[in-house]
Protein backbone atom coordinates (compact mmCIF):
# COMPACT_ATOMS: atom_id res chain seq x y z
CA UNK A 1 0.00 0.00 0.00
CA UNK A 2 2.80 2.40 0.91
CA UNK A 3 4.69 1.27 -2.16
CA UNK A 4 1.60 1.86 -4.25
CA UNK A 5 1.18 5.40 -2.93
CA UNK A 6 4.86 6.12 -3.42
CA UNK A 7 5.00 4.80 -6.95
CA UNK A 8 1.78 6.52 -7.94
CA UNK A 9 3.02 9.84 -6.57
CA UNK A 10 6.27 9.55 -8.48
CA UNK A 11 4.49 8.69 -11.71
CA UNK A 12 1.93 11.43 -11.23
CA UNK A 13 4.78 13.86 -10.81
CA UNK A 14 6.08 12.67 -14.17
CA UNK A 15 2.75 13.56 -15.79
CA UNK A 16 2.60 16.98 -14.15
CA UNK A 17 6.12 17.75 -15.24
CA UNK A 18 4.96 17.32 -18.82
CA UNK A 19 2.45 20.15 -18.33
CA UNK A 20 5.16 22.55 -17.25
CA UNK A 21 7.42 21.41 -20.08
CA UNK A 22 4.73 21.47 -22.75
CA UNK A 23 2.27 24.14 -21.61
CA UNK A 24 0.64 23.99 -25.05
CA UNK A 25 -1.03 20.86 -23.78
CA UNK A 26 -3.20 23.04 -21.57
CA UNK A 27 -4.47 24.74 -24.68
CA UNK A 28 -6.14 21.49 -25.67
CA UNK A 29 -8.09 21.52 -22.43
CA UNK A 30 -9.06 25.17 -22.57
CA UNK A 31 -9.51 26.16 -26.17
CA UNK A 32 -12.69 24.13 -26.61
CA UNK A 33 -14.68 25.68 -23.75
CA UNK A 34 -13.47 29.15 -24.69
CA UNK A 35 -14.67 28.75 -28.26
CA UNK A 36 -18.03 27.39 -27.14
CA UNK A 37 -18.49 30.12 -24.56
CA UNK A 38 -17.81 32.85 -27.07
CA UNK A 39 -19.90 31.18 -29.76
CA UNK A 40 -22.95 30.54 -27.66
CA UNK A 41 -22.83 33.60 -25.50
CA UNK A 42 -22.34 36.14 -28.26
CA UNK A 43 -23.39 34.46 -31.50
CA UNK A 44 -26.40 32.29 -30.66
CA UNK A 45 -27.12 33.54 -27.15
CA UNK A 46 -29.20 36.55 -28.00
CA UNK A 47 -31.58 34.43 -30.07
CA UNK A 48 -32.07 31.74 -27.42
CA UNK A 49 -34.67 32.30 -24.74
CA UNK A 50 -34.70 30.01 -21.74
CA UNK A 51 -37.58 30.31 -19.35
CA UNK A 52 -36.80 31.67 -15.88
CA UNK A 53 -33.04 32.12 -16.13
CA UNK A 54 -30.60 34.36 -17.98
CA UNK A 55 -28.91 32.55 -20.85
CA UNK A 56 -25.48 33.21 -19.38
CA UNK A 57 -26.38 31.43 -16.19
CA UNK A 58 -28.03 28.65 -18.15
CA UNK A 59 -25.00 28.24 -20.38
CA UNK A 60 -22.04 28.08 -18.00
CA UNK A 61 -22.94 24.94 -16.07
CA UNK A 62 -23.54 23.28 -19.43
CA UNK A 63 -20.20 24.37 -20.85
CA UNK A 64 -18.38 23.08 -17.79
CA UNK A 65 -20.07 19.71 -18.02
CA UNK A 66 -19.35 19.56 -21.72
CA UNK A 67 -15.68 20.38 -21.35
CA UNK A 68 -15.32 17.70 -18.70
CA UNK A 69 -16.94 15.21 -21.05
CA UNK A 70 -14.59 16.31 -23.82
CA UNK A 71 -11.87 15.53 -21.30
CA UNK A 72 -12.46 11.87 -22.16
CA UNK A 73 -11.09 12.59 -25.62
CA UNK A 74 -8.22 14.68 -24.32
CA UNK A 75 -7.26 11.97 -21.88
CA UNK A 76 -7.63 9.34 -24.57
CA UNK A 77 -5.39 11.20 -26.99
CA UNK A 78 -2.77 11.94 -24.39
CA UNK A 79 -2.80 8.35 -23.19
CA UNK A 80 -2.59 6.91 -26.69
CA UNK A 81 0.49 9.07 -27.28
CA UNK A 82 1.96 8.44 -23.87
CA UNK A 83 1.60 4.69 -23.99
CA UNK A 84 3.52 4.61 -27.22
CA UNK A 85 6.43 6.36 -25.61
CA UNK A 86 8.99 3.74 -24.74
CA UNK A 87 9.13 4.99 -21.18
CA UNK A 88 5.97 3.11 -20.25
CA UNK A 89 7.67 -0.07 -21.46
CA UNK A 90 10.55 0.77 -19.20
CA UNK A 91 8.19 1.04 -16.23
CA UNK A 92 6.50 -2.20 -17.21
CA UNK A 93 9.81 -4.02 -17.35
CA UNK A 94 10.69 -2.76 -13.87
CA UNK A 95 9.46 -4.05 -10.52
CA UNK A 96 6.75 -1.39 -10.38
CA UNK A 97 3.10 -2.22 -9.72
CA UNK A 98 0.88 -2.29 -12.80
CA UNK A 99 -1.79 -0.49 -10.80
CA UNK A 100 0.70 2.23 -9.88
CA UNK A 101 1.66 2.84 -13.50
CA UNK A 102 -1.91 3.24 -14.61
CA UNK A 103 -2.91 5.24 -11.53
CA UNK A 104 -0.06 7.63 -12.23
CA UNK A 105 -1.43 8.06 -15.73
CA UNK A 106 -4.94 8.67 -14.40
CA UNK A 107 -3.79 11.14 -11.74
CA UNK A 108 -1.64 13.10 -14.17
CA UNK A 109 -4.51 13.39 -16.61
CA UNK A 110 -6.92 14.27 -13.84
CA UNK A 111 -4.72 17.17 -12.77
CA UNK A 112 -4.55 18.38 -16.34
CA UNK A 113 -8.35 18.30 -16.63
CA UNK A 114 -8.66 20.03 -13.29
CA UNK A 115 -6.47 22.86 -14.48
CA UNK A 116 -8.67 23.18 -17.54
CA UNK A 117 -11.74 23.28 -15.32
CA UNK A 118 -10.30 26.05 -13.17
CA UNK A 119 -9.49 28.12 -16.24
CA UNK A 120 -13.00 27.69 -17.62
CA UNK A 121 -14.63 28.67 -14.33
CA UNK A 122 -12.42 31.70 -13.95
CA UNK A 123 -13.24 32.76 -17.49
CA UNK A 124 -16.93 32.36 -16.67
CA UNK A 125 -16.58 34.53 -13.59
CA UNK A 126 -14.79 37.19 -15.60
CA UNK A 127 -17.57 37.17 -18.19
CA UNK A 128 -20.17 37.72 -15.50
CA UNK A 129 -21.32 34.26 -14.46
CA UNK A 130 -22.41 34.41 -10.84
CA UNK A 131 -23.07 30.95 -9.43
CA UNK A 132 -24.48 30.82 -5.93
CA UNK A 133 -24.49 27.95 -3.50
CA UNK A 134 -24.12 27.38 0.22
CA UNK A 135 -21.41 25.31 1.84
CA UNK A 136 -23.39 22.07 1.78
CA UNK A 137 -24.18 22.32 -1.90
CA UNK A 138 -20.61 23.42 -2.56
CA UNK A 139 -19.23 20.26 -0.98
CA UNK A 140 -21.77 18.12 -2.78
CA UNK A 141 -20.80 19.80 -6.02
CA UNK A 142 -17.13 19.28 -5.39
CA UNK A 143 -17.56 15.61 -4.52
CA UNK A 144 -19.73 14.86 -7.53
CA UNK A 145 -17.53 16.71 -9.99
CA UNK A 146 -14.39 15.05 -8.63
CA UNK A 147 -15.96 11.61 -8.81
CA UNK A 148 -17.27 12.04 -12.32
CA UNK A 149 -13.97 13.48 -13.49
CA UNK A 150 -12.26 10.43 -12.10
CA UNK A 151 -14.70 8.20 -13.95
CA UNK A 152 -14.24 10.13 -17.20
CA UNK A 153 -10.49 9.97 -16.82
CA UNK A 154 -10.45 6.20 -16.33
CA UNK A 155 -12.69 5.91 -19.35
CA UNK A 156 -10.35 8.11 -21.37
CA UNK A 157 -7.29 6.17 -20.26
CA UNK A 158 -8.96 2.93 -21.31
CA UNK A 159 -9.94 4.34 -24.69
CA UNK A 160 -6.40 5.64 -25.15
CA UNK A 161 -4.97 2.20 -24.53
CA UNK A 162 -7.37 0.39 -26.84
CA UNK A 163 -7.16 2.54 -29.93
CA UNK A 164 -4.07 2.45 -32.06
CA UNK A 165 -3.68 6.15 -32.66
CA UNK A 166 -4.67 9.46 -31.19
CA UNK A 167 -6.44 10.33 -34.45
CA UNK A 168 -8.79 7.45 -33.86
CA UNK A 169 -9.66 8.88 -30.44
CA UNK A 170 -10.53 12.18 -32.06
CA UNK A 171 -12.67 10.45 -34.66
CA UNK A 172 -14.66 8.40 -32.18
CA UNK A 173 -14.97 11.38 -29.88
CA UNK A 174 -16.37 13.53 -32.62
CA UNK A 175 -18.98 10.96 -33.62
CA UNK A 176 -20.05 9.85 -30.15
CA UNK A 177 -19.21 12.36 -27.44
CA UNK A 178 -19.72 15.54 -29.41
CA UNK A 179 -23.41 14.88 -30.25
CA UNK A 180 -24.05 13.50 -26.77
CA UNK A 181 -22.91 16.75 -25.21
CA UNK A 182 -25.26 18.67 -27.49
CA UNK A 183 -28.24 16.49 -26.69
CA UNK A 184 -27.51 16.80 -22.99
CA UNK A 185 -29.27 20.15 -22.71
CA UNK A 186 -25.97 21.95 -22.61
CA UNK A 187 -27.02 24.83 -24.85
CA UNK A 188 -30.79 24.57 -25.11
CA UNK A 189 -33.37 22.87 -22.90
CA UNK A 190 -33.87 19.18 -23.67
CA UNK A 191 -37.63 19.57 -23.46
CA UNK A 192 -37.71 21.58 -26.68
CA UNK A 193 -35.83 19.00 -28.72
CA UNK A 194 -37.28 16.62 -31.27
CA UNK A 195 -38.41 13.18 -30.09
CA UNK A 196 -35.20 11.22 -30.78
CA UNK A 197 -32.63 13.65 -29.38
CA UNK A 198 -35.00 14.36 -26.50
CA UNK A 199 -35.19 10.70 -25.59
CA UNK A 200 -31.44 10.32 -25.85
CA UNK A 201 -30.96 13.54 -23.89
CA UNK A 202 -33.27 12.38 -21.12
CA UNK A 203 -31.02 9.39 -20.42
CA UNK A 204 -27.66 10.71 -21.54
CA UNK A 205 -25.15 10.57 -18.63
CA UNK A 206 -23.89 14.01 -19.58
CA UNK A 207 -27.46 15.33 -19.12
CA UNK A 208 -27.42 14.27 -15.50
CA UNK A 209 -24.12 16.06 -15.16
CA UNK A 210 -25.43 19.27 -16.76
CA UNK A 211 -28.62 19.12 -14.69
CA UNK A 212 -26.67 18.63 -11.47
CA UNK A 213 -24.42 21.58 -12.11
CA UNK A 214 -27.37 23.74 -13.05
CA UNK A 215 -29.28 22.71 -9.98
CA UNK A 216 -26.42 23.18 -7.53
CA UNK A 217 -25.00 26.42 -8.92
CA UNK A 218 -28.16 28.16 -10.14
CA UNK A 219 -30.87 26.30 -8.28
CA UNK A 220 -32.40 25.75 -11.71
CA UNK A 221 -34.27 22.48 -12.01
CA UNK A 222 -34.41 20.16 -15.01
CA UNK A 223 -37.14 17.65 -15.62
CA UNK A 224 -38.45 15.17 -18.14
CA UNK A 225 -37.06 11.85 -16.96
CA UNK A 226 -35.99 10.13 -13.76
CA UNK A 227 -32.29 11.09 -14.09
CA UNK A 228 -33.23 14.71 -14.77
CA UNK A 229 -35.57 14.80 -11.81
CA UNK A 230 -32.87 13.35 -9.54
CA UNK A 231 -29.70 14.60 -11.21
CA UNK A 232 -27.31 14.26 -8.25
CA UNK A 233 -28.26 10.67 -7.64
CA UNK A 234 -28.13 9.90 -11.36
CA UNK A 235 -24.71 11.51 -11.64
CA UNK A 236 -23.47 9.47 -8.69
CA UNK A 237 -24.81 6.25 -10.18
CA UNK A 238 -23.40 6.99 -13.63
CA UNK A 239 -19.97 7.77 -12.20
CA UNK A 240 -19.91 4.57 -10.17
CA UNK A 241 -21.08 2.54 -13.16
CA UNK A 242 -18.38 4.03 -15.39
CA UNK A 243 -15.72 3.43 -12.76
CA UNK A 244 -16.94 -0.12 -12.17
CA UNK A 245 -16.69 -0.73 -15.89
CA UNK A 246 -13.55 1.07 -16.94
CA UNK A 247 -11.20 0.52 -14.01
CA UNK A 248 -11.16 -3.27 -14.43
CA UNK A 249 -11.19 -2.98 -18.23
CA UNK A 250 -8.23 -0.62 -18.20
CA UNK A 251 -6.29 -2.79 -15.77
CA UNK A 252 -6.94 -5.92 -17.77
CA UNK A 253 -5.93 -4.22 -20.95
CA UNK A 254 -2.76 -2.93 -19.38
CA UNK A 255 -1.79 -6.31 -17.96
CA UNK A 256 -2.30 -7.95 -21.30
CA UNK A 257 0.22 -5.63 -22.89
CA UNK A 258 -0.52 -2.83 -25.24
CA UNK A 259 -0.97 -3.04 -28.97
CA UNK A 260 -0.27 -6.72 -29.25
Amino acid sequence: MITYARETTLLTWRGLRAITRVPERLLDVTIQPVVFILLFLYVFGAAIQVHGISYKDFLFPGIIAQSLAFGIMGTGTATANDMREGVVDRFRSMPVGRLSIISGQVMGQLCEQLLGLVITVVLGLILGWRPSFDLGHGLELFGLVALSMLAFTWMGVYVGMVVRSSDAVQGVGFIVIFPLTFMAGTFVPIAKMDLIPRTIGDWDPISAFVATLRKLTENYPSSGSWPLDHPELAMLIWSLVLLGLFVPLALRRFNKGLAS
Binding site: E7, L10, L11, W13, R14, R17, A18, R21, V22, R84, E85, G86, V87, D89, R90, F91, R92, S93, M94, P95, V96, K256, G257, A259, S260
Partner: protein, 328 residues
Protein backbone atom coordinates in the same frame (compact mmCIF):
# COMPACT_ATOMS: atom_id res chain seq x y z
CA UNK B 1 22.39 -24.40 -8.50
CA UNK B 2 21.17 -23.44 -11.93
CA UNK B 3 23.87 -21.65 -13.85
CA UNK B 4 21.76 -20.47 -16.75
CA UNK B 5 20.66 -16.84 -16.81
CA UNK B 6 18.24 -17.55 -19.63
CA UNK B 7 16.71 -20.89 -20.42
CA UNK B 8 14.01 -20.78 -23.07
CA UNK B 9 12.42 -23.73 -24.78
CA UNK B 10 9.99 -23.70 -27.66
CA UNK B 11 9.35 -19.98 -27.30
CA UNK B 12 6.67 -18.89 -29.77
CA UNK B 13 4.88 -15.61 -30.36
CA UNK B 14 2.08 -15.08 -32.85
CA UNK B 15 0.77 -11.78 -34.13
CA UNK B 16 -2.50 -12.90 -35.65
CA UNK B 17 -1.50 -15.81 -37.89
CA UNK B 18 2.00 -14.51 -38.26
CA UNK B 19 4.69 -16.34 -36.32
CA UNK B 20 7.13 -13.66 -35.22
CA UNK B 21 9.04 -16.11 -33.04
CA UNK B 22 8.81 -19.75 -33.91
CA UNK B 23 9.75 -22.46 -31.45
CA UNK B 24 12.96 -20.80 -30.35
CA UNK B 25 15.33 -22.40 -27.83
CA UNK B 26 17.84 -20.18 -26.14
CA UNK B 27 20.35 -20.78 -23.40
CA UNK B 28 22.54 -18.12 -21.88
CA UNK B 29 24.97 -19.29 -19.19
CA UNK B 30 25.57 -16.85 -16.35
CA UNK B 31 28.45 -14.47 -16.88
CA UNK B 32 28.53 -14.84 -20.65
CA UNK B 33 27.56 -12.67 -23.58
CA UNK B 34 25.16 -14.15 -26.08
CA UNK B 35 24.18 -12.32 -29.20
CA UNK B 36 20.93 -12.77 -31.07
CA UNK B 37 21.87 -11.95 -34.59
CA UNK B 38 19.40 -11.50 -37.36
CA UNK B 39 18.14 -9.16 -40.08
CA UNK B 40 15.14 -6.82 -39.81
CA UNK B 41 12.01 -8.66 -38.80
CA UNK B 42 13.90 -11.74 -37.63
CA UNK B 43 12.09 -11.66 -34.29
CA UNK B 44 14.86 -10.29 -32.09
CA UNK B 45 12.81 -7.60 -30.39
CA UNK B 46 9.86 -9.92 -29.94
CA UNK B 47 12.07 -12.52 -28.25
CA UNK B 48 13.66 -9.98 -26.01
CA UNK B 49 10.29 -8.51 -25.02
CA UNK B 50 9.04 -11.93 -24.02
CA UNK B 51 12.12 -12.46 -21.87
CA UNK B 52 11.64 -9.04 -20.25
CA UNK B 53 7.98 -9.88 -19.39
CA UNK B 54 6.60 -7.26 -21.75
CA UNK B 55 4.98 -9.80 -24.04
CA UNK B 56 3.42 -13.06 -23.05
CA UNK B 57 4.63 -16.06 -25.06
CA UNK B 58 1.90 -17.96 -26.90
CA UNK B 59 3.65 -21.19 -26.20
CA UNK B 60 6.92 -22.45 -24.84
CA UNK B 61 8.51 -21.45 -21.58
CA UNK B 62 11.33 -19.26 -20.49
CA UNK B 63 13.18 -18.91 -17.24
CA UNK B 64 15.23 -15.82 -16.55
CA UNK B 65 17.61 -15.93 -13.60
CA UNK B 66 15.76 -19.05 -12.56
CA UNK B 67 12.30 -17.43 -12.59
CA UNK B 68 9.49 -18.18 -14.99
CA UNK B 69 8.74 -15.13 -17.14
CA UNK B 70 5.00 -15.62 -16.88
CA UNK B 71 4.41 -16.97 -13.39
CA UNK B 72 7.25 -15.16 -11.62
CA UNK B 73 7.32 -11.98 -13.68
CA UNK B 74 7.97 -9.83 -10.59
CA UNK B 75 11.19 -11.66 -9.76
CA UNK B 76 12.30 -11.50 -13.39
CA UNK B 77 11.77 -7.74 -13.39
CA UNK B 78 13.76 -7.33 -10.19
CA UNK B 79 16.81 -9.11 -11.57
CA UNK B 80 16.79 -8.03 -15.21
CA UNK B 81 17.18 -4.74 -17.04
CA UNK B 82 16.13 -4.16 -20.60
CA UNK B 83 17.38 -1.43 -22.86
CA UNK B 84 14.90 -1.57 -25.69
CA UNK B 85 15.48 -0.83 -29.32
CA UNK B 86 13.88 2.61 -29.02
CA UNK B 87 14.81 4.89 -26.16
CA UNK B 88 12.62 4.19 -23.15
CA UNK B 89 12.80 7.60 -21.53
CA UNK B 90 10.33 10.38 -20.90
CA UNK B 91 10.94 13.02 -23.59
CA UNK B 92 9.61 15.79 -21.35
CA UNK B 93 12.00 15.13 -18.49
CA UNK B 94 15.66 16.02 -18.42
CA UNK B 95 18.29 13.31 -18.62
CA UNK B 96 18.96 13.58 -14.93
CA UNK B 97 15.27 13.63 -14.01
CA UNK B 98 14.74 10.45 -15.99
CA UNK B 99 17.48 8.70 -14.10
CA UNK B 100 16.38 9.89 -10.67
CA UNK B 101 12.77 8.96 -11.41
CA UNK B 102 13.80 5.43 -12.26
CA UNK B 103 16.04 5.25 -9.22
CA UNK B 104 13.20 6.47 -6.99
CA UNK B 105 10.84 3.93 -8.54
CA UNK B 106 13.38 1.29 -7.63
CA UNK B 107 12.97 2.36 -4.04
CA UNK B 108 15.94 4.66 -3.47
CA UNK B 109 15.46 7.79 -1.39
CA UNK B 110 15.97 11.18 -2.93
CA UNK B 111 19.61 11.63 -1.97
CA UNK B 112 20.69 8.13 -3.00
CA UNK B 113 18.81 8.42 -6.27
CA UNK B 114 20.43 11.71 -7.11
CA UNK B 115 23.90 10.45 -6.26
CA UNK B 116 23.37 7.34 -8.34
CA UNK B 117 22.18 9.44 -11.28
CA UNK B 118 25.28 11.60 -11.08
CA UNK B 119 27.60 8.60 -10.97
CA UNK B 120 25.98 7.13 -14.07
CA UNK B 121 25.87 10.41 -15.94
CA UNK B 122 29.56 10.69 -15.40
CA UNK B 123 30.25 7.13 -16.41
CA UNK B 124 28.39 7.63 -19.68
CA UNK B 125 29.95 10.97 -20.39
CA UNK B 126 26.57 12.65 -20.16
CA UNK B 127 27.15 15.31 -17.52
CA UNK B 128 27.36 17.99 -20.15
CA UNK B 129 23.79 17.57 -21.35
CA UNK B 130 22.33 16.15 -18.14
CA UNK B 131 19.91 19.03 -17.62
CA UNK B 132 18.59 19.04 -21.14
CA UNK B 133 15.22 17.50 -21.93
CA UNK B 134 15.43 14.07 -23.50
CA UNK B 135 13.66 15.34 -26.58
CA UNK B 136 16.40 17.90 -27.00
CA UNK B 137 19.42 15.59 -27.03
CA UNK B 138 20.80 13.68 -29.99
CA UNK B 139 20.06 10.04 -30.70
CA UNK B 140 23.45 8.87 -29.52
CA UNK B 141 23.25 10.91 -26.32
CA UNK B 142 19.79 9.58 -25.61
CA UNK B 143 21.03 6.06 -26.19
CA UNK B 144 23.71 6.54 -23.56
CA UNK B 145 21.24 7.87 -21.00
CA UNK B 146 18.98 4.96 -21.85
CA UNK B 147 21.79 2.55 -21.13
CA UNK B 148 22.52 4.38 -17.88
CA UNK B 149 18.86 4.01 -16.92
CA UNK B 150 19.20 0.25 -17.21
CA UNK B 151 22.12 0.23 -14.81
CA UNK B 152 20.56 2.22 -11.97
CA UNK B 153 20.70 -1.01 -10.05
CA UNK B 154 23.25 -3.46 -11.39
CA UNK B 155 21.04 -6.24 -12.78
CA UNK B 156 22.03 -9.90 -12.92
CA UNK B 157 21.03 -9.97 -16.55
CA UNK B 158 21.19 -7.05 -18.93
CA UNK B 159 19.33 -7.24 -22.20
CA UNK B 160 20.31 -4.81 -24.93
CA UNK B 161 18.18 -4.62 -28.04
CA UNK B 162 20.27 -3.28 -30.91
CA UNK B 163 22.31 -0.98 -28.67
CA UNK B 164 24.31 0.58 -31.47
CA UNK B 165 21.86 0.87 -34.34
CA UNK B 166 21.96 4.43 -35.59
CA UNK B 167 25.04 5.42 -33.61
CA UNK B 168 28.09 7.01 -35.13
CA UNK B 169 31.36 5.04 -34.89
CA UNK B 170 32.52 6.94 -31.83
CA UNK B 171 29.33 6.43 -29.84
CA UNK B 172 29.38 2.82 -30.91
CA UNK B 173 32.84 2.51 -29.40
CA UNK B 174 31.55 4.00 -26.13
CA UNK B 175 28.82 1.38 -26.00
CA UNK B 176 31.20 -1.44 -26.83
CA UNK B 177 33.63 -0.32 -24.16
CA UNK B 178 30.85 -0.14 -21.59
CA UNK B 179 29.62 -3.57 -22.55
CA UNK B 180 33.10 -4.99 -22.08
CA UNK B 181 33.43 -3.32 -18.69
CA UNK B 182 30.10 -4.72 -17.57
CA UNK B 183 31.08 -8.18 -18.68
CA UNK B 184 34.31 -7.84 -16.75
CA UNK B 185 32.18 -7.02 -13.70
CA UNK B 186 30.44 -10.34 -14.16
CA UNK B 187 27.12 -9.28 -15.63
CA UNK B 188 25.31 -11.61 -18.02
CA UNK B 189 24.40 -10.04 -21.30
CA UNK B 190 21.95 -10.81 -24.05
CA UNK B 191 22.54 -8.54 -26.98
CA UNK B 192 20.65 -8.34 -30.22
CA UNK B 193 22.20 -6.88 -33.28
CA UNK B 194 22.05 -6.93 -37.02
CA UNK B 195 25.70 -6.00 -37.27
CA UNK B 196 27.73 -9.09 -37.79
CA UNK B 197 30.95 -7.52 -36.66
CA UNK B 198 29.29 -6.39 -33.44
CA UNK B 199 28.30 -9.92 -32.50
CA UNK B 200 31.74 -11.05 -33.51
CA UNK B 201 33.40 -8.42 -31.35
CA UNK B 202 31.31 -8.78 -28.20
CA UNK B 203 29.70 -12.18 -27.95
CA UNK B 204 30.92 -15.49 -26.57
CA UNK B 205 28.15 -17.20 -28.45
CA UNK B 206 26.00 -16.19 -31.37
CA UNK B 207 22.53 -17.38 -32.14
CA UNK B 208 21.65 -16.59 -35.71
CA UNK B 209 17.91 -16.20 -36.23
CA UNK B 210 15.71 -15.46 -39.20
CA UNK B 211 11.92 -15.56 -39.55
CA UNK B 212 11.70 -16.25 -35.84
CA UNK B 213 13.71 -19.46 -36.05
CA UNK B 214 17.20 -20.41 -35.07
CA UNK B 215 19.37 -20.98 -38.09
CA UNK B 216 22.68 -21.64 -36.46
CA UNK B 217 24.38 -21.22 -33.14
CA UNK B 218 27.89 -21.39 -31.83
CA UNK B 219 30.93 -19.34 -31.01
CA UNK B 220 31.92 -16.80 -33.62
CA UNK B 221 34.80 -19.10 -34.58
CA UNK B 222 32.49 -22.11 -34.95
CA UNK B 223 30.12 -20.21 -37.15
CA UNK B 224 32.94 -19.11 -39.35
CA UNK B 225 34.24 -22.65 -39.53
CA UNK B 226 30.86 -23.81 -40.80
CA UNK B 227 31.31 -21.52 -43.73
CA UNK B 228 34.67 -22.89 -44.69
CA UNK B 229 38.15 -21.55 -45.11
CA UNK B 230 39.44 -18.43 -46.73
CA UNK B 231 37.75 -16.83 -49.67
CA UNK B 232 38.70 -14.78 -52.67
CA UNK B 233 36.59 -11.76 -53.47
CA UNK B 234 36.49 -10.46 -57.02
CA UNK B 235 34.73 -7.16 -57.55
CA UNK B 236 33.73 -6.62 -61.17
CA UNK B 237 34.07 -3.18 -62.74
CA UNK B 238 30.38 -2.92 -63.68
CA UNK B 239 27.23 -4.99 -63.85
CA UNK B 240 27.70 -6.51 -67.33
CA UNK B 241 31.24 -7.41 -66.34
CA UNK B 242 29.91 -8.97 -63.16
CA UNK B 243 27.50 -11.14 -65.11
CA UNK B 244 30.01 -12.28 -67.70
CA UNK B 245 32.65 -12.96 -65.09
CA UNK B 246 30.42 -14.91 -62.74
CA UNK B 247 29.33 -17.09 -65.65
CA UNK B 248 32.90 -17.58 -66.82
CA UNK B 249 34.16 -18.58 -63.37
CA UNK B 250 31.24 -20.94 -62.78
CA UNK B 251 31.89 -22.56 -66.18
CA UNK B 252 35.45 -23.25 -65.14
CA UNK B 253 34.24 -25.13 -62.08
CA UNK B 254 34.90 -22.56 -59.39
CA UNK B 255 32.49 -22.65 -56.44
CA UNK B 256 31.13 -19.10 -56.23
CA UNK B 257 28.78 -17.04 -54.08
CA UNK B 258 27.33 -13.96 -55.74
CA UNK B 259 26.46 -10.58 -54.29
CA UNK B 260 25.13 -8.67 -57.33
CA UNK B 261 24.51 -5.43 -55.37
CA UNK B 262 28.19 -5.24 -54.61
CA UNK B 263 29.22 -6.77 -57.96
CA UNK B 264 31.13 -9.20 -55.80
CA UNK B 265 31.94 -12.77 -56.69
CA UNK B 266 33.23 -14.72 -53.74
CA UNK B 267 35.17 -17.90 -54.47
CA UNK B 268 35.98 -20.59 -51.94
CA UNK B 269 39.74 -20.87 -51.47
CA UNK B 270 40.64 -23.99 -49.50
CA UNK B 271 44.17 -23.81 -50.94
CA UNK B 272 44.54 -20.14 -50.17
CA UNK B 273 47.33 -18.47 -52.17
CA UNK B 274 47.36 -21.30 -54.67
CA UNK B 275 43.70 -20.68 -55.38
CA UNK B 276 44.31 -16.96 -55.55
CA UNK B 277 46.78 -17.58 -58.37
CA UNK B 278 44.32 -19.85 -60.20
CA UNK B 279 41.46 -17.39 -59.91
CA UNK B 280 43.62 -14.44 -60.92
CA UNK B 281 44.77 -16.28 -64.00
CA UNK B 282 41.23 -17.29 -64.88
CA UNK B 283 40.03 -13.72 -64.53
CA UNK B 284 42.93 -12.37 -66.55
CA UNK B 285 42.27 -14.91 -69.28
CA UNK B 286 38.70 -13.64 -69.75
CA UNK B 287 39.93 -10.09 -70.16
CA UNK B 288 36.95 -8.79 -68.18
CA UNK B 289 37.55 -5.58 -66.21
CA UNK B 290 37.64 -5.85 -62.42
CA UNK B 291 38.10 -3.34 -59.61
CA UNK B 292 39.62 -5.58 -57.03
CA UNK B 293 40.69 -9.10 -56.23
CA UNK B 294 41.68 -10.19 -52.72
CA UNK B 295 42.12 -13.14 -50.45
CA UNK B 296 40.41 -12.78 -47.06
CA UNK B 297 39.27 -14.68 -44.00
CA UNK B 298 35.57 -15.51 -43.81
CA UNK B 299 33.31 -13.08 -41.94
CA UNK B 300 29.93 -13.62 -40.42
CA UNK B 301 28.48 -12.15 -43.57
CA UNK B 302 29.60 -15.29 -45.32
CA UNK B 303 28.05 -17.31 -42.54
CA UNK B 304 24.76 -15.59 -43.12
CA UNK B 305 24.81 -16.20 -46.83
CA UNK B 306 25.89 -19.77 -46.41
CA UNK B 307 23.30 -20.60 -43.77
CA UNK B 308 20.25 -18.68 -44.94
CA UNK B 309 20.83 -18.52 -48.64
CA UNK B 310 20.56 -14.73 -48.61
CA UNK B 311 22.47 -11.79 -47.30
CA UNK B 312 21.63 -10.04 -44.06
CA UNK B 313 19.25 -7.29 -45.07
CA UNK B 314 20.49 -4.44 -43.02
CA UNK B 315 20.64 -1.80 -45.68
CA UNK B 316 17.42 0.15 -45.31
CA UNK B 317 17.57 0.35 -41.58
CA UNK B 318 16.35 3.77 -40.86
CA UNK B 319 13.25 3.67 -43.00
CA UNK B 320 12.38 0.35 -41.45
CA UNK B 321 12.82 1.64 -37.92
CA UNK B 322 10.57 4.56 -38.65
CA UNK B 323 7.92 2.31 -40.10
CA UNK B 324 8.10 0.19 -36.95
CA UNK B 325 7.59 3.19 -34.75
CA UNK B 326 4.46 4.04 -36.64
CA UNK B 327 2.84 0.65 -36.24
CA UNK B 328 4.04 0.02 -32.70
Amino acid sequence: MNDLAIEATGLTKLFGDFKAVDNLDLQVPKGTVVSLLGPNGAGKTTTVRMLATLLRPDSGRAKVNGYDVVREAGAVRRTTSLTGQFAALDPNLTCRENLTLIARLRGMDRATASARADTLLERFDATEFASRLIKQVSGGERRRVDLAASLIEQPELLVLDEPTTGLDPRSRQVVWTTVRELVAEGITLLLTTQYLEEADALADRIVLIDHGREIAAGTPAELKAQVGEQRIDVIAADTPAFEQLSKALADQGFETTLMPELRRISVAAPNEVLDLTRVSQAVAATGIAIDEIALRRPTLDDAFIALTGHAAESTDNQADDQAKELVA
